[in-house]
């Protein structure tokens, strides 16, 4: 911008406001040297520049802030929370299973017709027949455990999926993971139950006695016993065999000497009468410690 007497005022103001670059400032200074009569006017404008006086804000210390540290959730708390969650979930699951077990399903189909299908698995189970003595000893031990004391009046058939030889030698402190009781249709009194006859694992005739043993846990029962039992639907026997597929599974299967399912087991195991919904439902007792 060329400075002349028409636009010098703007040039002076830009100079005072420090808005000119070096050539622009030099041009203004040269113009002032060339026109000394305008120096006073320039000085008058320069006087309008305010000089900043030092000032202290009285509340300055209150303005300082400290950043809050980020919250770090300790790992052990996470682990504790996870443990609690797992325990709660496990408790809920167990409670659900117990509740489910207390409401046995009704069994109404008369005769099982799965003999042929289950003979294949039954072959394996009959390789190691159990003697009545062994069975009786096992029954007594189970009675001592007291965990199925309610079943004293019932006639039960107990199955262990382990072979008889291995179970007899290594059943010390064996933990049975699962015991299954299938109840019949009608609830019966303990006196009536005493009249029931135990059907043994291998030979139903061997164990026929009015004083029915409580639990016999030795080896899987013969397939035919289960298959011939009346009142057990095929689906139940399928589930029965499936449930006992594990090594440590023990199931309690109730039939009488006439190969009919025994009712009233729920009552004897739980100590209360079966409701209408409870009848004929499965009662599953898990984790029973059996010592020999």
């Amino acid at each position: 911008m060329e400075i002349n007497r028409q636009n010098y005022e703007t040039a002076f103001l830009l100079y005072i406001d420090r808005e000119l670059d070096a050539p622009g400032r030099a041009a203004v200074e040269k113009f002032l040297r060339d026109h000394p009569d305008l120096q006073k006017e320039f000085d008058g404008l320069a006087q309008t520049v305010q000089v900043a006086e030092p000032m202290i804000f009285p509340g300055k210390k209150d303005l300082y802030r400290k950043e809050e540290p980020k919250r770090v959730f300790p790992l052990f708390r996470v682990a504790a929370a996870a443990s609690v969650a797992v325990l709660l979930a496990g408790g809920w699951w167990l409670a659900g299973n117990i509740k489910k077990a207390e409401t046995p399903e009704k069994i109404s189909v008369p005769t099982a017709t799965v003999t042929e299908k289950n003979n294949k698995s039954g072959d394996n189970r009959t390789e190691h027949p159990a003697t009545a003595q062994n069975i009786t000893e096992e029954r007594k031990d189970i009675e001592k455990s007291g965990k199925v004391r309610k079943a004293t009046g019932g006639a039960l058939l107990v199955k262990n999926t382990k072979s008889a030889s291995s179970s007899q030698t290594s059943m010390d402190k064996q933990q049975a993971n699962e015991t299954e009781v299938i109840t019949g249709e009608q609830a019966e009194t303990p006196d009536m139950a005493k009249k029931q006859t135990v059907v043994g694992l291998q030979d139903a005739g061997e164990l026929k006695t009015p004083d029915a043993p409580i639990l016999i846990a030795s080896k899987p029962p013969q397939q035919e016993i289960i298959d011939k039992a009346e009142g057990i639907p095929p689906a139940t026997t399928d589930a029965y065999y499936a449930d006992n597929a594990g090594d440590n599974a023990i199931s309690v299967f109730a039939v009488n000497d006439k190969n009919k399912t025994i009712s009233g087991i729920f009552n004897r195991l739980t100590g209360r009468s079966a409701t209408k919904e409870d009848k004929s439902r499965k009662l599953r007792v898990s984790v029973i410690q059996i010592s020999y």
Partner: protein, 161 residues
Amino acid sequence: MTGDDYNDCVKLYADGLYRFMLKSTRNTEDARDLVQSSFEKLWEHRKEVDSQRCKSYLFTIAYHKMIDMNRRNSRMDYRGELPERTETSARFTPGLKDHLEKTLARLTEKQRSLIMLKDYEGYSYEEIVEITGLNLSQVKVTLHRTRLQLKEWLVSVENVL
């Protein structure tokens, strides 16, 4: 900006902002409140504010808060022109510096703010545009008119002295 950057801003600019607010509002309590609320806002938005732009952010916030406050208090002078010089205003001026203070007080708040942003804080026209929201022409014209008016007052006072 981090919390440390914020504290650096307090250290560097709190006094200047207070001076700007005090000269603009001419009220100690108002200036103090405006400074505190401006830093409060800076703290809230510190993560979005670049530490290099902390000063202009503060002055922008403070300026607009002051405008809002003045509008609420109906104290804003929107004439856009220099007030008329009165006889009493220059009659008992003990010195040029004191008179300059008084003449500054006679400016409108917009004029005063622009002069202080320019002279006290050394902002460029473009920066003042950013802070005040005015356009470049408004800033330039207002500043030039204000200086001419101040010069006229000062010259008259010199003649009196």
